[in-house]
């Protein structure tokens, strides 16, 4: 069965630095890979989507890369701020049947002032 792995340990970085989060998967490459942010006590919020034929996507301080050879996506936050502290989830979907997002376990990011 498909496995999606994200760093289970929290990532601690200093304000202003670039945070890089990893999402690794097994088996079949997804057609779409999404990143969501989840704050404590709240539902996930969509950030970025990247397609299997795209290498990189950017939105403001966020950048996502997708390497189907390595079966990996990297999520970067540049010039990180304490307000970026949250759990970040990657989610995969395939072009088979109906929309079914399979989520990774999430990585908690802590940005210190």
């Amino acid at each position: 069965s498909q496995k999606i792995e994200q760093n289970s340990e929290a990532l601690n970085i200093q304000e202003g630095k670039t945070a890089t989060l990893t999402c690794n998967y097994t088996n079949y490459s997804p057609a779409y890979l999404q990143w969501y942010r989840q704050d404590p006590g709240r539902g996930p919020v969509f950030l970025l989507l990247i397609r299997e034929n795209e290498k990189e996507k950017r939105k403001e301080r966020l950048k996502v890369t997708f390497d189907t050879t390595l079966k990996q996506s990297l999520f970067h936050i540049t010039a990180s701020q304490p307000a970026d502290s949250a759990t970040y989830l990657c989610a995969l979907s395939w072009n088979t049947g109906f929309q079914k997002l399979v989520f990774g376990t999430g990585t908690r990011l802590l940005v210190s002032p």
């Binding site: 709240r42 996930p44 969509f46 989830l89 395939w94 109906f98 929309q99 997002l101 399979v102 999430g106």
Partner: protein
């Protein structure tokens, strides 16, 4: 204006009871979902409805029964609650059921079974 809303926000109940969670979206989306997030924060899909029709039914005990009276509402009824049902339940919606769609999540319902 709340896009996806759920009630109640918290639910504390005894084992063996029956309870319902309600979800409403005002985004005009066709597709709605129920997810369960366990204590390890793993988020897993349970059900999906498209225009009131069940399209995804994961391996969920049949004590869980979803109902969609119209495409803006998706409810979840749980019979004979068990300790292992304690979790946060999220409702979500997307414009269509296409695999490229992003999902909009509600605030979650925290269920504690004692």
């Amino acid at each position: 204006d709340t896009a996806v809303s759920q009630t109640p926000k918290y639910l504390v109940t005894q084992m063996g009871n029956d309870k319902s969670i309600k979800c409403e979206q005002n985004l005009g989306h066709d597709t709605m979902y129920w997810y369960k997030q366990d204590s390890k924060k793993f988020l897993k899909i349970m059900f999906s409805y498209n225009n009131k029709e069940l399209i995804i039914n994961e391996t969920v005990p049949n004590r869980f029964s979803p109902k969609s009276p119209d495409k803006a509402h998706l409810n979840l009824h749980i019979n004979s609650l068990e300790l292992g049902d304690s979790a946060v339940y999220f409702c979500a919606s997307s414009p269509t059921s296409g695999s490229w769609e992003t999902q909009y999540f509600g605030p979650g319902t925290r269920l504690l079974v004692l």
